[in-house]
Every structure is written in C-alpha cells, then in structure tokens.
C-alpha cells in the first residue's frame, strides 16, 4: 500500500512523516516520531492512555488516523512542560503522589490540561467526570483529583 505524506505541527514544531493510510495517529507518534509518551492501553478509545489534543480538542490518538493530522496542531505529554521547568499540573502530580505505575499519567495530564484550558475553575465533580475516560488501575483516583484541583488553584493565582 502506498504511503501518505503528512505535514503537521506537534507541540509547536512542524513535523512531516510518511504513513500507511490505515495507521493510527498513536502508532505514528510512537513508532515513526519516537514520541512514546502516549500509550496504547486498549486501542479502542476506552482507556484514555493515548490522549492527545488535535487543534486543542482532546482525542484518543488510537481512534485518529495518522493521515488526519495533515495541517492540524497536535499536542502530546512531551510538550506540556514549557522547558526544563515542569507545568504546574506535573509538579502537583509529583507533590500529591498522584501516580503509581505511571502508564496512565501522560494521558491524564493531557486530559487535565485540556480541561483547565476550557475551564480554569472546575468543581471537583467536573474534574471527576471529565477524567472518567482516563482509566487508572493503581491509584484509586483520589490523589489525581486533588492534584488537578490544586494545580488549577495555583494556575488561577498565577494568571
């Protein structure tokens, strides 16, 4: 099968790649671009481990084709920290011990960041239901919610 040439923007940088028309954005990110932060947890859009944003919209990259990235802006966990310094969400996840095995963490951070961009002052219930599509088998979620609420508060203060 002939490959498709795709030009896109990933975490603010332009990127080009060739991909099979059937290939998912997740596989492109991981296997062609070496961005392994997004994980495959289920491959069916049910676990959220592969979460990225596409033109600012939160998506499961396992349900998006690589070819759909043409001309769009993709953001992944690798782009959350502005530089050496961590994003407040990342810092709060460490401070609150809001991770264990860590494999759901990138997707949850991407999802939480997308929430706070839409709604900088979410209620706890809004956080719980926004993140309901991101499964975590280790933590029981309590510390994750606390970390997101705390990061949101800090970001509001800084704004």
């Amino acid at each position: 099968m002939s490959k498709i040439h795709v030009s896109t923007t990933i975490n603010g940088d332009t990127a080009e790649f060739l991909c099979d028309p059937r290939e998912t954005l997740l596989d492109v990110l991981r296997d062609r671009l070496g961005l392994t932060g997004a994980k495959e947890g289920c491959g069916t859009g049910d676990c959220g481990a592969c979460s990225v944003t596409l033109d600012g919209r939160l998506v499961c990259s396992c349900l998006v084709l690589g070819a759909e990235a043409e001309g769009r802006e993709i953001a992944t966990v690798e782009g959350i920290a502005p530089g050496e310094e961590l994003h407040p969400l990342q810092r709060k996840f460490i401070e609150h011990a809001a991770l264990q095995c860590g494999i759901c963490t990138p997707g949850i951070l991407v999802a939480a960041k997308a929430l706070l961009e839409k709604n900088p002052d979410p209620t706890e219930t809004e956080v719980r239901y926004w993140l309901a599509g991101n499964l975590c088998r280790c933590t029981g979620y309590d510390k994750i919610i606390r970390a997101v609420m705390d990061a949101a508060a800090e970001m509001r203060e800084a704004a």
């Binding site: 994980k39 947890g41 966990v77 975590c136 088998r137 933590t139 309590d142």
Partner: protein
C-alpha cells in the same frame, strides 16, 4: 533519615514528562521483528488440520512456528509443566496459543495470525463449577481439608444456625500496560530479555529451558511494569519465551506485546469461587462452629492455583476466632483461561466467605454488624487495652495452629468508629431508609487480617547488590521489581538511611538476573520486607568495612564512627561521605557487597494445614456508605473511611496510595467488574468497553484514609509492614454496604452474590420486595 518520610515515587518526574520507558517504549535494534499468537477459537478439542500457508504468504511475515518447530522445552508453566507455549495437538480453552507469527511489524503479525485455517474436532467443554464437579475434573487427588474441633457437632448444638451459598466472580487484572517482552540475541548464543514481569528469575528459567541453555546464558532485565497486580507473576512467560525462541531462530531482536483483547482472552485472571457455608452461633452472636466448602475454578492449567486455593483456606477465618471449623477446598480444572495470581492470592475469596457469614448472622440476630464482628475478633495483642477481651479464655489460635500475637483490630475498630462517626451515621441511615423507598442507603464495615509471607516457605528469601563508588554515589540493586507500588523508592530510602546520605546519592537500577540471582517473584506483598532487609544487610557490610578502616586511621572505636546527614564522623575527624568513600577506596577497602535475607520463624505443612505460614499479620478496617436506586439497582459509594496498619510506614505517601488504590480495586472486583463466558467458553468481556473497572467518577465522594499509628511487633525493616495486598480486601466493605442497603427493602436476607452489579442488586431487591 530517609525512612518514614513521604518521598515521591522514584520515577515520578519521568512519568509526568512521558519519558519513563516501558518495554514497548525501549528503542529496538534495527531489523527487529514482532510477534503474535494464533489462538484457538474452541474451548476443548483436537486439532485435525492446520493450514498455515496463508499466514506465511501474508505481507511482512518472516516465519510461522508451531509446537513442532520449538527446539527444546515447550512449556511456560510456573509449576506443573502442564502449559505448553504452543498447543500440542489438543486445545483446552478459547484463546490458547496454537502457533506463533514472526513478522516485520506488530500489525503485520496480528493480521497474519487471523489467516490460518484451523480445524478442530470439538469436544464438550467443562466450563462451570457444576460441570467440573460432575466430571471430577480437578487438580490434586481430591479436596484439601483443614479443620479443628468438630464443626458439624458444634453447629448442631448451637442455639441458632445460618447457611447459604455465595457465588463470587473472578477479576481481570487490567494492568494498563499489557504483557510485553523484548529479546535481543547476544554473542555466543546468549540471550538478553527485557520483560514486563514480576518474576525475572522465572522468565530466565523458562527461557533457558526453551533455548536449551543453562540459566547463565540468559539475562533478564525489568526496569518497571505498567501495573502488575499478580498478573505478571507467571503470565509473561509465554511472551518472553516466544521472543527468545524467535530471536534465536532469526538472529534478530524480537518483541511481543499483547493487544488488550488478546491479553484478556489469553491470560489468567483471579479465580472465581463458589462458597457454601453453615454457621452455628449463640444468641449473643458468638460463633460456635463454621463449615465452608470452597470451589475454585482454576482453568485449564495448574499455574499457581494450589497456593492460591490454600491461601483462600488460610483466610477463611479473617479476623475471627472460630472454635470449631472445617474448610474444604476443591481446585477445579476447567476449559477456561488458567486462573492465576491476583492481589490477595485467594485471601480475598476466603475472607469474603466469612464476611458473608458475619453479615448473615448479624441479619439473623438483628444485631449491629460491627458489634457482632468485634465480639468474634481474636484476642487483642498484649499491650492493647482499648477493648477488654470478650471471649474469656485464649481466643488467639487460627484454624491452622498459628497464634495471632499481633492483633490490632480492637483498637483500630474503636478508632475508626470514632473518626467515621459510626453510631450517628448508622442512626441517620436507618432514619433515611425508614422515610425513603426509592433510594436506600447502606453501611458496610469490613476488617482485614492478612497473613504476610509466601506460604511456600523457601520463597521467603531475597538478595541485594550494593556498590559505593569513590565519589560517594551509591548503586542499588535487588531482586524486587517495580510495578508502580513504590518498592524501589522505599528500598532506596533504606539504603540512604544506612549510609546517612541524601536519597539523591542512591541510584536505583533495573532488576537484573545478572546482578542478583535466584530471586522470588515480587508478590505476596513481600517486596519491601524482603528486599529492604537484603539491601540493609549489603549496606551494613560496606558501612562496617568503612567504619573499621576509618576507626583505625582516626584512632577511635569502630562503634564511634557515625554516618549522618551526608557526613561521616570518626574520632575527632569529620568528612563528607564522598571523602570517606574516596579514602576507603585508596585504603584498598572493598566498597561493594551483596546482601541476603531470609524470613525467620515461618514453617508450614500445606497438606496437614498446620504450622506458621506467616511471619506476621497486617490489619485494616473500612466503613463504606452507599446509596442504591431501588428502581434500577444503580448505586454509588458516598463515603469511605479507612484505617490501615502499615506498621511504622517506610513512606506514608506511597503506602496511602496502596491503600486507596487497593480499596478501589477491591470494590471494583465485588461491584462492577463482571467476567462473562458464553456456553462455548468464549470470554465475552475482553476489553474495557464491556469490562467495567472503576473510573474517576466512581471514586467515593468522601474518601478518608489514614494509617494506624503503630509498628510491627516483629523485627521487619524499620518495623514497617507489607502493604501491597492487604488494603485490597477493604473493598469488601462496599459489597457489605450494598447488602445493607438491599436488606432495607424487605425482611429476608439479601444473599447478594458478587460482583454485585446494578443488575444483581436490582434482582436482589426484587426478591426481597416480592417476598421470594
């Protein structure tokens, strides 16, 4: 001191930046190949034709292997050598690997695996407990039996009796990282295997057998897993062996990871159980005699089913003194996935049995279920004066003859009832239920007493390797594996404390069979107990050598050399730890040591059911409040209060994480997580679309978790306690709370099976309201 402080997970920064590497993230050598299994679609039968030509002809396929192509052992069993990597003429469950596809990409391998033409002469499968009992299809020669006194006579003589049957579902681990392995051929026929496994030594052992080389020809490395929960104790063997065999054959690196659906269809899960019970008791609720029959559905191969079923028997008492008791255990062989280790390892199933009895007895007597439980508790440990002993005599002997010398639950129950405001909330729930018929509320209390140690006594050993470099930095290695529980950080804290240095000076390294040999699985909650002690021994050896050297140089007693806050004090001299390491190196002192630990006191006869299988017990208790919509069965956890005993916690933040995660996982097991097999033996719930683990929205609205302020009465590492499995069983309180809410709908006992899905809750309410 680094211990007893809440340091973050050792890889936390890597995790939040997406740079922590799991097996599938490791850059592979050029030309790496990818593997997939072709699976049986039949639960039981004989393969009559196998045409793999279409698979071989598929794009990207490099090789296709069947059992006949395997050069040496065709076995991935951790126990009874009854689990071939690839089927040998017969198939025993839907999902059993029949052939192995080696291809240029993961998807090419998976697509090709679907193209085989397999003909199987199907036989009637044995799927259920009833079918297995009728066919006498079992492991071991017959049921195991542990007993004390005459339970039947005690029940007959007791003023009151309850009896019943409980169906208890299994559980998919749902580690978010599926099984994965990568094998890279080395010079001279050696093999390097990177595996997502809780048991690198077992992987090494099985790969060596499959390659026909001694264990020294195979090195296994495990940096981290994306969750394990017992599901990576033996279930990773197949992938690692497949990769190694294919890598040997092709001379190229081979990687295999299961897609989620394949993972759920191929790998084993928690054993589902049926438990029948009879209990005799007096009007005060004191148990006189209890009988259990436990039926465990073990699947097609033995795997770890015998010790799992043993542990279910060993936890049939949970926290209660049972004066006369009989526990019969049937280990049934069925044409389903081979059930395997899962957090609690049978303990949760045993415990649910006696908690059902307690729930039933309390309902029968109309007695407060917390009070009933406290009356039947084991005697308090010496020094616990929080509650007077109600038994009047020594009530400290388990059914298997081990004395309970550290019983903490009297004091812990007092404290939890106080902090959770139990009495007032009980009254409030009763008042609510008297006034409302659509929404009923319920409260459930569950204590946990969990035995710590491998019941197979020889597994209770661990090794470590520690190097101090001449700049004072420390390289740490031990046999434990990191699956998210924070073991590496807790053990690094031990090392930092022994040398009196900051945690940053200790480098945590991947588990590696070339550094520490002959390790046990990181399982049975034993990780920090065993490896912490082994690392302590290694560090102390180096520290003593350094102290002896410095004492001589600075003319002081060895005992006067102190290692504190990154500095070393010897006589009047004071130096940094780095300077001390440099001096010791120049003084030709060895700065590297192994360490070894074996758990004392344990000795156990699993056939007779007698001895001391456990070094100590870990305790916890939980109170859960739920609301149930009686019109639909839908329900919600409103509040959970937990008090858990981690001894003198090595790291409270990590330990509380284990408690919270364990509770939610345990509650998931007993409420929403339902595995469904159809009559052909196909697992119909093989993805998160159909198998419901708790989500963020299911978290209790109020979630109060605290650690019990105590210390281990046995000499463990800094008097801490194991914390991996015990909190899982706190989730039983959620199931009991649902039972309580359902009981408010009528007079009969709800007899709620597990998982208590909304559908089951709704059914139970219907039975009560119809008076059936």
């Amino acid at each position: 001191m680094s211990v007893t402080r809440s340091h973050p997970h050792d890889a936390a920064r890597l995790h939040v930046t997406g740079t922590a590497r799991y097996i599938d993230d490791i850059p592979t050598p050029r030309g790496s190949l990818h593997l997939a299994f072709g699976l049986s679609d039949t639960a039981r039968g004989t393969i009559t034709a196998l045409d793999l030509d279409p698979v071989r002809a598929a794009p990207g396929v490099v090789a296709v292997l069947t059992a006949d192509d395997l050069p040496f052992a065709n076995d991935v069993s951790p126990s009874a050598h009854d689990e071939p990597l690839l089927a040998t003429g017969t198939v025993h469950y839907v999902g059993q690997p029949i052939f192995l596809v080696v291809a240029e990409s993961h998807l090419a391998a998976r697509r090709a695996a679907r193209l085989a033409r397999v003909e199987i002469a199907a036989e009637v499968p044995i799927l259920t407990i009833d079918q297995a009992m009728a066919a006498e299809s079992r492991f071991e020669e017959g049921p195991r039996l542990y007993a004390r006194g005459d339970a039947a006579a005690a029940i007959a003589a007791a003023p009151r009796m309850v009896e019943g049957t409980l169906e208890l579902g299994g559980q998919e681990h749902f580690y978010l990282e599926g099984q994965a392995a990568l094998a890279v051929p080395q010079e001279g026929g050696d093999m390097l295997v990177q595996s997502s496994t809780q048991h690198p030594t077992e992987i090494q052992h099985k790969v060596a057998e499959a390659l026909g080389v001694p264990m020294h020809g195979v090195r296994v490395e495990t940096r981290r897993m994306g969750g394990g929960f017992g599901g990576k104790e033996s279930q990773g063997n197949a992938l690692a062996v497949a990769c190694a065999v294919a890598a040997r054959m092709t001379g190229r690196a081979c990687k295999m990871r299961y897609d989620r659906d394949d993972d759920m269809v191929i790998t084993g899960k928690r054993h589902d159980f049926r438990i029948t019970y009879r209990a005799g008791f007096d009007d005060a609720g004191m148990l006189q005699g209890v009988e259990f029959v436990q039926y465990a559905r073990c699947g097609w191969a033995q795997d770890l089913s015998l010790p799992v079923a043993d542990r279910a028997m060993l936890h049939a008492d949970n926290a209660y003194f049972l004066p006369n008791v009989r526990i019969e255990s049937h280990r049934l062989k069925t044409n389903t996935q081979s059930a395997t280790a899962y957090r609690g390892f049978g303990g949760p199933q045993g415990m649910v049995g006696i908690e059902r009895v307690m729930d039933h007895v309390a309902h029968d007597l109309g007695m407060d279920p917390v009070e009933l439980r406290r009356r039947n508790y084991y005697d308090a440990a010496a020094g616990d004066f929080s509650t007077k002993n109600l038994g009047g005599g020594a009530r400290d002997l388990t059914p298997y003859g081990q004395r309970v010398e550290d019983f903490e639950l009297h004091g812990m129950t007092d404290a939890l009832m106080e902090s959770a405001g139990y009495a007032a909330r009980r009254a409030a729930v009763d008042a609510w239920n008297a006034e409302h018929s659509a929404i009923k509320k319920g409260l459930g209390f569950a204590p946990v007493k969990f035995g710590i140690s491998f019941t197979l006594t020889h597994l209770n050993q661990a090794g470590a390797l520690v190097h101090v470099y001449q700049d004072g930095s420390v390289h740490l290695n031990h046999g434990g594996t990191e699956m998210g529980q924070g073991l590496f950080q807790k053990v690094a804290q031990v090392a930092a404390s022994r040398f009196g240095i900051p945690l940053e000076m200790v480098k945590i390294t991947a588990t590696d069979t070339a550094k520490v040999p002959n390790t046990s699985a990181t399982a049975a909650s034993s990780g920090s107990d065993l490896n912490g002690m082994a690392v302590k021994a290694a560090c102390d050896t180096i520290r003593e050598r350094m102290a002896a050297f410095l004492a001589e140089r600075h003319q002081c007693e060895v005992a006067q050399v102190r290692f504190e806050e990154g500095r070393v004090f010897a006589g009047g001299a004071e130096m940094t730890f780095a300077q001390a390491a440099q001096m010791a190196y120049e003084g030709r002192v060895s700065l590297s040591s192994t360490g070894f630990y074996k758990t004392p006191k344990v000795a156990w006869d699993r056939i007779r059911g007698e001895g001391r299988p456990f070094f100590y017990f870990a305790y916890g208790c939980a109170l859960t409040e739920v609301a149930v919509d009686t019109r639909t069965g839908e329900n919600r956890i409103l509040r959970a209060d937990i008090l858990h005993d981690a001894g003198a916690s090595l790291n409270p933040a990590l330990d509380i994480g284990q408690v919270e995660g364990g509770y939610v996982q345990g509650a998931g097991w007993l409420t929403t997580e339902e595995l469904v097999w159809d009559e052909a033996g196909r697992l119909r719930t093989h993805a998160p679309s159909t198998y419901k683990i708790p989500a963020c929205s299911d978290r209790p609205e109020v979630f109060n978790v605290a650690l019990w302020d105590g210390q281990n009465r046995e000499e463990t590492i800094y008097r801490s306690k194991a914390v991996g499995e015990p909190p899982f069983m706190l989730g039983i309180s959620a199931w009991l709370a649902l039972s309580d809410a359902v009981a408010a709908c009528g007079d009969a006992y709800p007899a709620l099976d597990a998982p208590a899905t909304a559908e089951r809750v709704w059914d139970a309410i219907g039975r009560l309201r119809d008076g059936v």
